[in-house]
Symmetry: C2
Subunit: 400 residues, 2 copies
């Protein structure tokens, strides 16, 4: 029951990137292993989970990308769904390294030029024989126009495929950005989030690519939360193949940022059990960290999230949640609107508060909550979803 989310109908190919997917891991009825082959000369940059148990594939990615998390020499990605290869210690590390060797042999490069990604159940081992045969099948059918199939093959509990393309013109050249992502539960900011792969055919030097990625991730993948849990496997890769000319332009950066923002929002719209998309904007803060702390306190409160699910104007729960946030703000100066309907003023009920109007706004499936701190010029925006009985069903009824 994703919130107003349709799958992409077209994803533009990126010159220099070929893809293939196959069924190899544990799914009975759909592809769950994907290979992404990158021509020589591309730059690649990655950000990864801050969880203290990074999965072996994340550890291998960090090693192969080097200390600065960028590498101009990456030639292939191997991405599997169904099993996260996390918490698997030495065996998991061996399997992740082996997957690089296998794909390197097939693509004619070295193992250090391959990056592995896994998502799914934690603490189960990869079925390496099936995995190897799957890589072989993929290597035999790599094509440029295959992003839609890849977007589907990387899903776990996702109900809708997530992808988007943007094109911009630079001096008569068309530059294309295409991105795909998966993620539905175990989603929380303060990290790089879930699996997301964004590629452009522009040429972008590795240090610039990494800088753009760090800037963009804070306002996109790090600005969403579904359930407050941070995955062991979160990875976001940015690839620039350089086939379509120089990409060092603001419009290219903006196109990449737009693709990331769209994918991040898709993940919230498809949040496990979500029936509503909730945007929380906190402004007037004396610093950005305070704005984020207030937004997160509201976004992560189960009592706020269940009131949102019910469309219940139980507005005291918002006050309670804001009051549990740390940071530098004066509780008595806080204001809150839902859309344009006033709720809180100076830390109490707004004199024009109207329960019927507020309930009508909270009954909608896309809700904007605006919180003013009245202290300064900083702001932060977080996207989250409501907490429904369906979330419990998904996570308590069977192992996803």
């Amino acid at each position: 029951m994703a919130v107003n989310l349709s799958p992409p109908s077209v994803l533009e190919p990126i010159a220099g990137v070929r893809l293939a997917s196959t069924r190899a891991i544990k799914s009975k009825n759909r592809d769950d292993l994907t290979v992404l082959a990158i021509d020589a000369g591309a730059t690649v940059s990655g950000v990864f989970t801050q969880n203290r148990y990074p999965a072996p594939p994340v550890q291998v990615c960090r090693t192969h990308l080097g200390v600065d998390k960028t590498n101009g020499d990456i030639r292939g990605l191997a991405i599997n769904a169904g099993i996260a290869n996390a918490g698997t210690l030495g065996r998991g590390l061996h399997d992740a390294q082996e997957s690089c060797r296998l794909l390197a042999n097939l693509l004619g490069c070295e193992a250090r030029q391959i990056l592995p990604f896994s998502t799914g159940v934690i603490m189960e081992p990869l079925p390496m024989e099936n995995y190897a045969r799957g890589l072989q099948r993929c290597a035999g059918k790599l094509i440029h126009d295959n992003w839609l199939a890849a977007a589907s093959a990387i899903m776990t509990t996702d109900t809708v495929t997530k992808g988007i393309s943007r094109q911009v013109q630079i001096n008569g050249n068309t530059i294309t950005v295409t991105g795909i992502a998966k993620g539905s539960g175990m989603i929380h900011p303060n990290m790089a989030t879930m699996l997301a792969f964004v590629a452009t055919d522009a040429a972008i030097p590795a240090p610039l690519l990494a800088q753009w990625q760090r800037d963009i991730v804070d306002d996109t993948f790090n600005a969403i939360s579904v359930d407050g849990d941070t995955s062991t496997n979160d990875s976001f890769m940015l690839i620039a193949t350089g086939k379509a000319g120089d990409g060092n332009h603001t419009v290219v950066r903006d196109a990449i940022a737009g693709v990331c923002a769209h994918l991040a929002e898709c993940i919230v719209r498809d949040g496990e059990g979500a029936s509503k998309l909730v945007t929380i904007r906190v402004y007037g803060g004396s610093d950005k960290e305070t704005c984020l702390r207030v937004a997160r306190a509201v976004a992560c409160s189960p009592l706020v999230k269940t009131a949102l699910a019910a469309g219940d104007a139980n507005v005291g729960r918002f006050l309670m949640a804001i009051g549990n946030a740390g940071g530098n703000f004066v509780p008595d100066c806080v204001t809150m609107h839902v859309d344009s309907t006033p709720v809180l003023f100076n830390g109490g009920l707004h004199s024009e508060y109207c329960e019927e109007k507020t309930a009508a706004v909270l009954a909608m499936d896309e809700i904007m909550i605006v919180i003013g701190l009245g202290k300064g010029a900083y702001e932060a925006t977080l996207k989250t979803c409501d907490l429904t009985a369906r979330y419990i069903e998904i996570n308590a009824a069977y192992r996803s």
Copy 2:
């Protein structure tokens, strides 16, 4: 569906404390206003919510108890359920002060000798006319043996009344400790929790009473979590009437601590929607704060809590949750058992891990999770419950 929780059948009266309850606020079929009258000469100590929007009654309590949160001159408590009188600004503060004046007139003391307490829906005003008439009815029927009725009248979403008495002998004297509490949702440590009232007939000097209370609260009411939300009205009062002789003995302190530990556990057992009581013990930490951070990360993870609800041995979720904890520990040294069944060793699956055995333990309605950090001698224990669809129902289906 409280977890193995029966109401108390007997609560011993405390010499120097008389109680009465009546229906006055918003309940249609049960008492929701309670008066507790204290004889002159008692000492009283309180701890209160750390939420940044403390309700007006909490503000009044702090003022009347003074800077050191103790007062040897308190003569009465007025406690209502149904409406929290929180987020009510000037009107709420006026109402809380007025309730003190009203009860002071009835008991023949000054308003500063009264403490007001409210619990229920946030941001609704108290019906002061009904409230005043209710106080009058209570004042006319105060008796010593009335703790059971009070335990029932302070409930909101609680499904079982919570109370206990302990008695100890000191030099031939019998010292009695009786406590009652309410709380079911909006329960999270890092505060003083919910409403709890514990009285003894021992004589305990105010500074000692306050010191005992601070020590005890950390291991009892601050060591539980239901949903990670901290209420605006949490208050825990400790009253020593001095009628039964000197209480400055370890056995008295232990009796008070035992009453508090029991009440805290009752609150978790009656946690909204709870089907399991889960005790999380973290040991081997280099400091207590790290132990608490790890315990809280596990206790507050919705993915751990839904796996516990399902009795699903999806043990990777525990690894994920521990990995999201801050603090000073080495992820690769972490071990975990459920009861005596090994699960994690050195940050990965234990070599003797058995999914069937683990699932059998997780299917029980009382579960002990033991996490070792392998770094030092500190430890911490937290009690929590699982997250079920019933929690969503309670909090999304209607306003509690």
